[in-house]
Symmetry: C2
Subunit: 201 residues, 2 copies
């Protein structure tokens, strides 16, 4: 599957950076095509401005012709999305949800006439992406994240975004307690990820 | 109570804009002091950059001395937060959670040595804010937002942010189906909000 990786972490030496490396190594091993969007390196602007709001309303009604006003960066990302069959998102969980940059990617790129069209009030994907894999890091234990913090990323990104535009095959790999687990565990996770992508899973 | 309003919507004529007006009218009627942070008008940068990550680690260890590198805007917001007793956040729910700008406010302003200090691994508020009111708009019905989308904003912002730094009195006013309810309902909501803030509730 043609894989598009959307990466967000301001520090390349982070564990998220190591995850990106593991995904890429796996894809290479499996002989798969891939592209990377590095939001931080691209200095992506995550803010929805008035022009974006107007483009949003226009694109929902009139389609691609209304996309003139969106950022050039977003137009480039549109081509990557149209190329991809598998979307991989890698980011840290901060304050129990995604960083602003990843949220801005959702707001400005999972956009009408880019990622989906409106059909009688329903959102329908216009992409070839049939699988989404979300890989997150956090220090909170998985049970606490579920019981106290409502698995917020599942609500907003898995169900509230990708399932909402009609993608069914969505995997969320949550790596919990990254700072407190052993070094061996951290290496094991990376090896598991590499293997998974090498096998095209 | 001295009230600090943090507002985020790119279109002033939005229903969120009308909510801001209602809050301000209520506070004026009640003779209360208030300040407004308008994130969009301030062109606030929500992105955590490498310098912010370094300041975050430094401020967690060494306190205010490590804040030099944060944005001047954030330093100004710090003074507003230190002044406030009641924090009001107004924003739309997009893709089941807050816009990037509001998320960036959380990432960069609910920050060590600004909003809280670290005490033996626990987060402890350093502010006089004893109450937080979050007012959101969305088109999704309340039951659907709870059952399918996990009340994501409760998980991340109510419990995952403000309760986490030790604030107990947190109210979340969720206005659902803003586009589909009657005009009378929309006006009734605004009157209720105005009244609530006039009475200092």
């Amino acid at each position: 599957m043609k894989t598009l990786i959307v990466f967000n972490h301001p520090y390349g030496g982070s564990y998220c950076g190591a995850i990106l490396d593991a995904v890429v190594k796996g894809l290479k091993k499996g002989g798969q095509q891939y592209r990377i969007i590095n939001l931080d390196q691209d200095d992506f602007d995550p803010v929805m401005r008035t022009k974006d709001l107007i483009a949003f309303a226009g694109a929902g009604r009139a389609g691609e012709d209304a996309l003139d006003a969106v950022d050039d960066q977003v137009k480039r990302y549109k081509k990557d999305l149209e190329w991809a069959e598998h979307l991989v998102m890698i980011f840290p969980i901060w304050w129990m949800t995604m960083p602003a940059m990843t949220k801005g990617f959702v707001d400005k790129v999972i956009f009408p006439a880019i990622a989906y069209n409106m059909d009688k009030g329903k959102l329908v994907s216009r992409l070839n992406i049939s699988r989404v894999t979300i890989i997150t890091t956090m220090n909170t234990p998985a049970e606490v994240y579920r019981d106290m913090f409502n698995n917020a990323i599942e609500g907003s990104l898995v169900n509230g975004t990708f399932r909402k535009i009609g993608i069914d095959d969505i995997r969320w790999i949550s790596l919990n307690g990254v700072k407190t687990v052993t070094k061996e565990q951290r290496i094991e996770w990376l090896n598991g990820i590499k293997q998974q992508f090498a096998e095209g899973r």
